[in-house]
């Protein structure tokens, strides 16, 4: 389908564009920017006057328990590529499961799913999963999701094996023993509320270990969801020393902190935990300077009863697909960053983490994933208006901006 998107403010961070330009799409790819190609006849024309036109968003972590509902939600919120962690049911440790997931997603024609394969069978941390087979089936990297590899020798071997084929390994930097029993940041809130704490050391010890293992195995390492200032500092230093490491942060962690637990608000229970205001500031700064490459939604939908229990017994996480773009825009606005810098962290920089140079930008020949949104109009988060499973959000009542006007995924207007 030939589509033209006209009169919008085109922001293409990777190619340094932030200007009023028209965009032309043909055969699922970007056909031209600025001037229509010779003989281009649009079947659909989108008038984007007053709106931002940017690459479709890439979410580096979203759980998709109901594939159709969540992918529809992703697409409706401008997210055209979703990286799915392997802690699905069943675990993504068999190539056939991965193939089926990708086929089902393709048949839906909404957002693209890029699965992470299990690093070890059943995420048990012992036997290597069939990484080569999983990669052929479409896995973009290998992960343990939130499960630890308790035996460091097993982790070392898994990284060596992954490095053999230049597969990237995505891990949550959290020492499972130091975090054991903990339900909140080991800070003032936990001290006051009598909640078992997860110390910052649980993150820094894990980062130190993972970086050393990555150095000695040569594996490409991606750290999922940093939570602390100390963690950001360690990654900054490792990068300065030339270690091949990237990292991301969850969107909620840019806006919430331990104090949002208030009086045991289970909606504010996250993994990693919401840490101090100073940690949040360091995450924002690290993201702005690019030490942290990407923002993910860490979308974790759940039924209401997951949160209708005392804080320490509640399930972790929140819905995030609806809020990825608004939370990124709010961060940019509050910290005085350009839209281009902010959007890079959910488009081109995220594409670089998954190693897909055809995604996350709008140069001629790139995959035609495009998001058109109204950056100005404000709205209030009302979880009851969420369309998919789960209403879990600690941000109910917050005012946001960023309303999707049109989404093109793989050249199809949704």
């Amino acid at each position: 389908m030939n589509i033209s998107i006209k009169n919008g403010r085109l922001i293409d961070p990777k190619n340094g564009i932030d200007a009023r330009q028209d965009l032309f799409i043909a055969d699922g790819r970007i056909a031209a920017v600025g001037q229509a190609p010779a003989g281009f006849v649009p079947e659909r024309e989108i008038d984007a006057a007053g709106y931002v036109v940017c690459p479709g968003l890439i979410d580096l972590s979203a759980r998709l328990p109901s594939l159709e509902a969540e992918l529809a939600c992703a697409a409706a919120n401008g997210i055209t590529t979703v990286v799915c962690p392997p802690d699905t049911r069943p675990v993504l440790d068999e190539p056939s499961l991965v193939e089926r997931l990708i086929q089902r997603a393709e048949a839906l024609g909404l957002a693209r799913v890029l699965p992470l394969g299990a690093l070890t069978k059943g995420l048990q941390g012992q036997t290597l999963a069939s990484m080569a087979g999983l990669a052929s089936a479409g896995c973009v990297a290998f992960s343990q999701a939130s499960q630890p590899v308790t035996d460091l020798q097993s982790l070392y071997r898994a990284m060596q094996y992954a490095a053999t084929y230049d597969f990237a390994v995505w891990l949550r930097p959290q020492d499972y023993q130091l975090a054991k029993d903990g339900v909140a940041h080991d800070g003032e809130m936990a001290a006051r509320l009598g909640l078992a704490g997860i110390p910052v050391a649980a993150e820094t010890v894990a980062i130190a270990t993972l970086i050393e293992l990555a150095k000695s195995t040569g594996v490409r390492l991606h750290l999922m969801r940093l939570s602390s200032a100390a963690g950001v500092a360690m990654v900054r230093e490792a990068k300065a020393r030339g270690v091949a490491v990237s990292c991301d942060v969850a969107a909620h962690h840019l806006h919430l902190a331990e104090e949002d637990i208030g009086y045991f608000n289970a909606q504010a229970r996250f993994d990693p935990p919401l840490r101090s205001v100073a940690d949040r500031a360091a995450l924002r700064f690290g993201l702005a300077e690019g030490v942290i490459q990407a923002v993910c939604s860490d979308h974790t939908p759940m039924e209401a009863d997951g949160k209708q229990v005392p804080f320490g017994e509640a399930e972790v996480g929140a819905r995030g697909l609806e809020l990825l773009l608004p939370l990124v825009l709010a961060w940019a606005r509050e910290d005085g960053l350009s839209l281009g810098t902010a959007l890079a962290r959910v488009t081109s920089d995220a594409a670089a983490v998954i190693g897909r140079s055809d995604l996350g930008h709008l140069a001629v020949g790139a995959v035609a994933d495009v998001c058109v949104f109204d950056a100005e109009t404000e709205w209030t988060i009302t979880p009851d208006a969420f369309t998919s499973v789960g209403r879990n959000s600690p941000l109910a009542g917050r005012t946001m901006s960023g309303r999707i006007q049109a989404v093109v995924a793989g050249g199809r207007l949704l």
Partner: protein, 324 residues
């Protein structure tokens, strides 16, 4: 950037006590009202007929999701002296064992026309969840009294401790109060700290090894000591905490013996405090672990009086809640 109201959920819109969930955020006038009311109830227990009709016709449900004989009994006595009907539910052994969720249990009890829930739960924050749920289902006519939630709070114990201190020391402003022992896991310690702060206590000290202390105590206005000899110096009040058996021999402490040597309250250590210092303990005591018998039974100990005051304080809390 707070999303949840910081308004204290135990106070209603007019600032009156609707539930007693924590001593944190309890305004000074409310604490004073509770202590003054308790004082007036103290003589009820000395009468031949130990009853006042304040809660006649009301049903108080003791919901103990965690076992406790002593606290449950004191609540039961307090409620009965107010003429309430008391229903004891040992939930730890019934509904939850059958897989019923906490809020399902609450919904069921609401249908039984409860007026007050006295809740003990092993998880911090459980009574807050119940109070919030009651509000959501439009049953905030039912009052919730926290009888101990996880490590978080045990507000009636905190208030009876304040009653005891006020009884013996009158004014808080010149007092030095030391809390000794397992503060990390202690809901009593947290309730004492917040109440002492609100009452304007001169100096609050915490004495324990680092494994038994939560972080950030300084932010709660507490001076931290690791040495009893320094920490007890010139104290007016010494609050000893119970050391749970399971914490004695493990990763937190090497042995009960070593703990007693360093942190057990002996007459020698107590001599470092002021001569008229009082010794308190929420009970049950571990003699020879955190406290020497000669101190526990000595002239400075007010531990049994705490129990008596405790009933009056619980009567006061229930009476005030029923009147609000």
């Amino acid at each position: 950037m707070l999303t949840q109201s910081r308004l204290n959920p135990q106070l209603d819109a007019e600032g009156k006590l609707q539930h007693l969930l924590s001593t944190e955020g309890l305004p000074l006038p409310v604490i004073t009202q509770i202590l003054d009311t308790a004082e007036s109830f103290l003589e009820v227990s000395d009468r031949d007929v130990k009853k006042v009709p304040l809660l006649r016709g009301k049903s108080v449900f003791n919901l103990f999701f965690e076992n406790s004989t002593r606290t449950r009994t004191t609540f039961e006595i307090a409620a009965k002296r107010l003429s309430a009907d008391v229903i004891n539910l040992d939930v730890s052994r019934s509904s939850t064992a059958k897989g019923e969720t906490l809020l399902d249990t609450i919904d069921n009890l609401c249908s039984m026309h409860a007026d007050m829930f006295v809740v003990r739960h092993a998880t911090s924050g459980a009574p807050f969840l119940i109070a919030e749920h009651l509000k959501r289902i439009g049953r905030d006519d039912i009052h919730v009294v926290n009888a101990g939630d996880g490590r978080h709070a045990h507000p009636t114990q905190g208030l009876l401790d304040m009653y005891t201190i006020r009884h013996y020391k009158k004014d808080f402003s010149n007092l030095t109060v030391a809390i000794v022992g397992d503060i990390l896991h202690s809901r009593v310690a947290r309730s004492d700290l917040h109440a002492l702060r609100t009452l304007g206590c001169g100096e609050i000290r915490a004495i324990a090894p680092k494994t038994l202390l939560p972080g950030y105590l300084e932010n709660l206005g507490v001076k931290v000591f690791h040495d009893m000899n320094e920490g007890l110096k010139d104290c007016d009040v010494v609050i000893m905490l119970r050391l749970q058996n399971e914490r004695m021999n493990g990763a937190l402490l090497p042995s009960a013996g070593e703990y007693f040597k360093r942190y057990g309250l002996t007459p020698e250590k107590l001599a470092l405090a002021k001569p008229d210092a009082i010794v308190m303990h929420p009970g049950p005591m571990n003699r020879g672990v955190e406290i020497d018998s000669s101190v526990a039974d000595g002239p400075q100990a007010v531990i049994l009086n705490q129990v008596t005051f405790g009933i009056a304080v619980r009567m006061a809390v229930m009476g005030i809640l029923a009147g609000n």
